[in-house]
Structure formats: C-alpha cells, structure tokens
Amino acid sequence: MTPQDLFQYLLRLGDNTLVLGHRTSEWCGTGPVLEEDIALANTALDLIGQTQMWLGYAGEVESEGRSADDLAMLRDVWDFRNVLLVEQPNGDFGQTMMRQFLFDLWHDLMLANLQKSADPRIAEIAEKASKEVRYHLERSTDTVVGLGDGSPESHRRMQAALNLLWPYVGELFVPDDIDAAAVAAGIGPDPAGIGAQYRNLADEVMARATLAIPSDPFAHKGGKSGFRHTEHLGHMLTEMQWLQRAYPGATW
C-alpha cells in the first residue's frame, strides 16, 4: 500500500469519528434527559479521542508536518473522507440514536478486523477504540430496541429514522481501489465481507425493535471518496472550524 493510499485510508477512519463525534456533541446540554445527555457527550468524547489517534497517524504517514488538529480544522469539505451517514443531521433523539446504531454496528465489526491489521499502529488504535465502541453499540442497540418497540409515537419516529438513514448504510460496504490495496497489504478487511455480517446483526436488532429495513437497495455514495458530500457537511464544518479559521493558531 502506498503512503498516499494509507493516508487516505486513515483519513476515512479519522473523518468518520471526527464528523460523528462533532454531530453527537451538538446534543451537549440539550439531551432529552440528563442521563442521555451525558451519555451522548461521553460518546462524542470517545469519538474525538479516536480521531486524534487516527488523524495523528495520518499526519505522520503524510509527512508534510500536519497535525491531527490541522487535518481536522483546516481542510475544506472536499478533502473530507467520511461516509455520508455520519454527516447527516441529528434530527430528533431517535434519529440520532438510529444513526449511532447504524454506524456503531459497522464500527464494531471494522475495529474487530483492524485489530488484526498488519500495520501494528492501526492494530493498536483499533484495540483501544474497540472497547469504547463495544459500549456505544450496546447502548445504541438498547435505545433502538426500546424506542422501536415502545409507544406508537416512538415506533413511528424510529421507523421514519430508519427509512431516512438506511440508504446511507450501503456506502460502508462498497469497496474501491484503496480498500483493495488495504486488503492486499493485510492492513484492513474487505468492506463487502463485513456487509453480510452487518446485515445479519442489523436484521436481528430490527426484529427485536419491530422495525422494517427498507427493501430498496439504493445507496447514496461519494463520502469516503470525497467525490460528493451531502450539503450538511459544509454547514457543520463552518461551525466546527470557525474558531481556527477566524483566529488561526489560537490555543487555550
């Protein structure tokens, strides 16, 4: 795998956790109950912590002197390599937790595979992150089941969230040249291979949640290649990055 490809591969991992971490942090202080508010903040902090490790390593691989902070705060939307799922807006609490579950399930499977990576640094980061993500998945699974199989109102909202977000799940499993290079080098798993496992587990949870996964296989793509993000990412970045843009190099 060339350093350029590895850099892209690490950006994908780090941008997923960065963008979802920031999205999740948007709930800080506005969660439906104190306990969920603080749980979401914990999740956001976990994801930002993982971002520091992924993007820190990405900067080293790139060898142009960019730190994790530089990569997070000074790139524009077309340079981000996160999947479209994680940049989708929070919506209501149910929609946020559905997005979290759909990502957590992939994240957990992905990290389990990355722990076996031929790149020791990736294996190390994956091992540390996987403990956090296992808990995220437990929590989001409970919430999806609880609200899906809850009141008519909560069920309706969760089904609406699943219908809205499912078309963004497919992108996680569509391989491209960089994935192929990672597989060939023993650095990362075949995304398509994780797909079948994901679907089985998702089916199981949605059955318990009495929710129906949409049958249309259509998948929005363009996030992890950077070809076409949804309009939401740019808006999110203006808020996330404004301080470093307005006061370059500011620290605290």
């Binding site: 948007e26 800080c28 506005t30 109950v33 104190l34 306990e35 603080i38 749980a39 914990n42 807006p89 929070n90 919506g91 209501d92 929609q95 808990y135 437990e138 929590r139 409970d142 609880g146 109102e153 909202r157 609406a160 969230a161 309009e231 939401h232 808006h235 999110m236 808020e239």
Partner: protein, 112 residues
C-alpha cells in the same frame, strides 16, 4: 448548535397532553478501585435495572471512579423517618458503657 434540517417537531395536538411520565428513581452505589464496600454516590432516572446500570456508568464513572456498580430502585429502600429521631437515636446517647472504652488493651494485642 442546531442541525441544518431537524426533523419536524410534532407539537401535542390537544391540551390534554399530560406532563411526561418520569422514569423511576434509582440509587447508585459504586465500589471504587481500592474501596472494599459499595458506597452511595447519588441517584438517577432509568426505565429498568439494566438501563440504570448503564446510566450509572455514564453519569458516575466518567473519571475512572469505580470497578463495580449497584443500582437499587429508590422505592425498595426502607428508610427511618426523621420524626422518629428522638425514640430511635437519643436513648443511645446516654449509654456510654456500650463503647468499648472501658477496657485496657493488653500490650500483646497490639494496635486495634
């Protein structure tokens, strides 16, 4: 901090919409890294026992405080009543002989 296009909020259609039902209250006990006993750290709301333990993990162990969590639904705790203070506790005040301070500890027993 709001999202770009939040999902539509469905306002209650009638004034009859009740104040929302609160989840039950749970009392949380945590055993620390070096502590022998679980100690009461506070309370929280949760729909069931499993959720109470998870919420306790998120609310009370963020700074590496514990290695074990107990959650007890508050209504299951039997408590003495403040109005019983007199008959419950005052009689013990005048019974100094219940304290083991009237005995000389033999030197061989060492520090107790």
């Amino acid at each position: 901090m709001s999202s770009v296009n939040p999902a539509p909020y469905d306002a209650p259609e009638t004034e009859a919409a009740r104040p929302r039902d609160e989840w039950p209250l749970w009392e949380i006990f945590i055993r620390g890294q070096h502590g022998l006993n679980h100690r009461h750290v506070g309370s929280l709301h949760a729909a069931d026992a499993e959720m109470a333990v998870k919420n306790a993990r998120d609310v009370y162990t963020r700074r590496n405080e514990g290695v074990s969590i107990w959650a007890v639904e508050a209504r299951h705790i039997a408590a003495s009543s403040p109005s019983d203070k007199g008959p419950f506790y005052e009689p013990a005040q005048s019974k100094v002989y219940r304290h083991p301070t009237f005995f000389d500890i033999p030197d061989e027993a060492g520090h107790m």
